[in-house]
Assembly symmetry: C2
């Protein structure tokens, strides 16, 4: 069945190519190409013959040859901070599903907050000829942005990107969710609320922290300097940050964290003390990773929907890549955030009579169970 003159060199037994199909269907390769690409000017009978031949020889178009001649690889780059932070796999999953549904492949890379690594990653993406890149690191260094921007393909940034023609930005509305978190805690009676931020060299970390400060101000609550601790979005650092807070003379009664991994570290730090969550200290996370509801206690957190982010990212990229995409003019893509109340937040100790408290907690538990 194999083509005669092929084989030759010691090379992988190539699978069927367009010529094999053409020969079998007794048409030219141009016709095969047209049929496979769904170009409608082909006679129905011929098309049927071609499809039959495609089936018979098990033809899969060679993407490399396709990319070479068409100038489009149908690969989307996806850059994340840390693939091992559970938020990102969830995002990757959604992104990939959507991209594949649109006929794209995804090339994933994580920066691990390392400049050299990021540069190499970008170079690899350029070399593989990606059609566009989504930078979902929530902040990236200027030098690397330049490296990316210099090439002409479409870019999507989560949360912070330069204002340039082929750049689209997913505008995450942090204010919303963080305000809800602060108000939720304040409503429970908390006055001393601390915040553990992300690494402040990331713009998003600053944005989230400022959103916290703003919401506190709105309610007339003070934020002492020592109540804002810099973390780095890792569990390890979350733990250390909480230990810093625990060393203060006047402890906060609640802690809001810049992401869920930090919150997990905080829970861990508190587990090593006599303080209980939420009885003694309430904890709020950010992201709502799937794990959040499996923490002990299940984590109250601000949800930033992966699905929503992924949908916006893929569409925004397509808007940049595909010549006549309906939303090609849209530069800013809004993303909502909102509080999800679980069991890591409660009244601060002593704010209500014990009986009352017991009752309310039970009631909330019940509500939660549904």
């Amino acid at each position: 069945m194999r083509k005669a003159g092929k084989a030759g060199k010691h090379r992988r037994a190539a699978s069927a190519n367009i010529h094999d199909v053409a020969r079998r269907a007794r048409v030219s390769i141009a016709t095969v190409s047209r049929v496979v690409n769904g170009i409608s000017t082909v006679d129905a009978d011929l098309a049927k013959r071609v499809w039959k031949a495609v089936e018979e020889v098990g033809y899969l178009p060679n993407t490399q040859a396709r990319a070479l001649v068409s100038g489009r690889s149908r690969i989307l780059g996806l850059i994340v901070s840390e693939i091992t932070n559970p938020f990102f796999p969830e995002l990757v999953q959604e992104f990939e599903n959507l991209a594949v549904a649109q006929g794209y492949e995804v090339m994933i890379g994580s920066t691990n907050y390392d400049a050299a690594r990021t540069e190499a990653l970008i170079r690899r993406m350029l070399q593989r000829g990606v059609d566009g890149v989504a930078v979902m690191t929530f902040g990236i260094e200027e030098a690397q942005v330049q490296q990316l921007v210099a090439h002409e393909f479409p870019l999507v940034f989560a949360d912070a990107g330069p204002d340039l023609p082929n750049v689209r930005v997913l505008e995450v509305n942090y204010g919303e969710g963080i305000r809800e978190a602060v108000q939720h805690l304040a409503a429970l009676g908390h006055r001393r609320i601390a915040f553990i931020s992300g690494p402040l060299r990331m713009r998003t970390a600053v944005t989230r922290r400022d959103a916290f400060r703003k919401s506190m101000n709105e309610l007339g609550l003070a934020v002492p300097q020592a109540y804002v601790v810099e973390g780095d979005h890792s569990m390890e650092r979350g733990k250390i940050s909480m230990e810093k807070l625990l060393a203060l003379a006047e402890l906060p009664t609640a802690v809001i964290c810049s992401n869920d991994m930090t919150a997990i570290g905080v829970l861990h730090a508190l587990d090593e003390t006599a303080y209980k969550v939420p009885t003694d200290i309430s904890v709020v996370g950010f992201d709502d990773i799937r794990l959040a509801q499996f923490m002990l206690p299940p984590l109250t957190t601000v949800r930033m929907s992966c699905k929503e982010l992924a949908e916006a990212a893929v569409e925004a990229l397509r808007a940049g890549i595909e010549p006549k995409h309906p939303q090609s003019a849209q530069k800013e893509w809004p993303i909502a955030t909102r509080l999800v109340v679980r069991r890591s937040t409660d009244f601060p100790r002593g704010s209500l009579p014990a009986v009352e408290k017991q009752k309310s907690r039970a009631a909330r538990r019940e509500a939660q169970a549904k």
Copy 2:
């Protein structure tokens, strides 16, 4: 600076190609190709001139053209079960680092235990012309194995693969780690030990369960039918499985889980009861994901090193791909497992006088802290 006749059609501004470099260095494209690929038959002076030109025009070889003509894409496929299960991102990370260090790109896909999805994934990988595929799903359905095996490229299976010339298998020694876990529990005084398995249609799940049964037998401990519950490696199912065990008339004093996610579900189920971990029930996981040490309490678990797995997978693939790799004859690649004791296991209640127990636990905690 741009080549004259180019531009033409409405196409992305192409970056410099081999002709640009050749013109600038006043050599032929063959020479440029040779220099860039490190073929040593080029005069040192010429090579220097070529590298200079490469720098100046910012030449990046086009991987698609390369792949097209050489028949090798330098892409490795990596198939995992669920990218959202934290074990896999850790594996992906290690795998990617190693692959990139060897000049390969990685194409990742997760099956989500879905046959249609898996088939589509394999098709995509074939079409992109991967040089080899590592199937790290710890069990895959026969039909899909056939689909993969039919093509001639190298394959690596974790834990269960067909015995074929171009297939290499990472043989995970489950017996080892699981025996350590059972012995650890037995040494603490546990006699009633339950096991929550993975989905039994996966061969690895059966293997792990059988390893558990065998280790129990060796110690003369009975394993009632009801003490072996089928899970599916998810937190949700882990929780449900534990609830099943809690409904039994005679409760086990310890539970070993087929992976860490299941163990997290178990911890969660127990948190909703009056039973404490490890005081009332000890829990052991499997995998040792990074999160395990951040659980409350930190999880005793059997470590299956991602790094070791990734190293073996990449090397085994290279052994299949690269003509003269030193280990090209090696078909089985052993992977060790071993118990990591943390704080989710302890003496069963009542097995020792309270004072004694208190003391030992404190001692262990201390040992742990280091």
